[in-house]
Symmetry: C2
Subunit: 196 residues, 2 copies
């Protein structure tokens, strides 16, 4: 009869959510079982239900937490940064850092949101749409005042968001590239291009 140790997390529920994120990342949401999750925590599956409501609640908690972190940060950047370019820079840096410090949860939100139930699924997709839209506006504004060259703003946004999303692949290889090089070179690439 082992007990769930909150560990770094504040509550036992948070400890379960954190372990769930790790499990869902490795096995995917549908393939992961509550019995496996319980084993990671050293208890029986049914014991989890003293702390959580359901499996899908775990996914909701993970995705919701990630959404909040992106929302808070984008708001911060919109208020504090000056030029459009510096805002784009700050966004890229944030994506790299959240990938470093909250990898499991961000990965699960990016890959498993499909299995959210309503209304959480709609909420999640609406947030993503609005996040993308804000970036498009940012880039359009940068084009309007001659900071940026004229290309399709949706394509530019897609390129930037996809590039930072792809940082999940960097996570396995990070020993070869420092965080500073990654941030600076990716910003350099996306802003000034690869051509000499």
């Amino acid at each position: 009869m082992a007990k769930i140790q909150p560990g770094n997390s504040a509550t036992k529920k948070e400890a379960i959510i954190q372990k769930a994120a790790t499990l869902f990342k490795v096995k995917s949401y549908t393939a992961a079982s509550m019995r496996e999750l319980a084993e990671m925590l050293g208890v029986e599956a049914s014991s989890l239900y003293n702390h959580i409501g359901s499996k899908s609640e775990l996914l909701q908690a993970i995705c919701c937490k990630v959404v909040k972190e992106f929302a808070v940060n984008l708001n911060l950047i919109e208020c504090n940064s000056t030029s459009n370019i510096s805002k784009i820079e700050a966004i890229i840096r944030f994506h790299i850092r959240i990938m470093l410090y909250n990898f499991d949860e961000v990965y699960v939100a990016n890959h498993e949101w499909k299995h959210l139930k309503e209304p959480y699924l709609s909420d999640f997709l609406n947030f993503r749409r609005s996040y993308e839209k804000k970036l498009i506006v940012l880039i359009e504004s940068g084009m309007a005042n001659n900071e940026l060259k004229i290309i399709n703003p949706y394509v530019a946004t897609l390129t930037i968001l996809s590039a930072v999303r792809g940082l999940e692949f960097w996570h396995g290889h990070k020993k070869n590239v420092s965080q500073e090089v990654l941030e600076n070179d990716m910003i350099n690439h996306l802003l000034t291009g690869l051509l000499r």
Copy 2:
């Protein structure tokens, strides 16, 4: 007692694989059931086993087909293109086109490879690693002869591959952006940057 119609596919097995790709894309591999797949084809689940060996064989077929298409194309580009820059251009164009014409299969390969069984899982990961490595070498070569500016070649490769991988999001919005604009602007962005 409906029959499986090969439709555009050559054989009935290929028809099943194509429908499986669509189903796995929408529901994910683990959440998709053979009963659902059978329903899409208008037969009972057990009837599928007259044509295929197992569920996981379907995933293998999808991933294997995608790997082959990328392998063949990269080989073609390496032989026929001249400068490193034109090779990179050709690779980006190919990724955009395969996303347009083989979306379901590429999507499934990108998202569900995790559920491949050995040795197919190792084969898939090895291919991806070697594909990435070839791009790194391409970029290093471009830097060596002053075509490209000096940034970390792994970061540049990650940025490019992630950007084209992110084209899965374009698939839902493609009505607003033509294929030509997408190809040209993404190449423009990745090669010459966003800055004016």
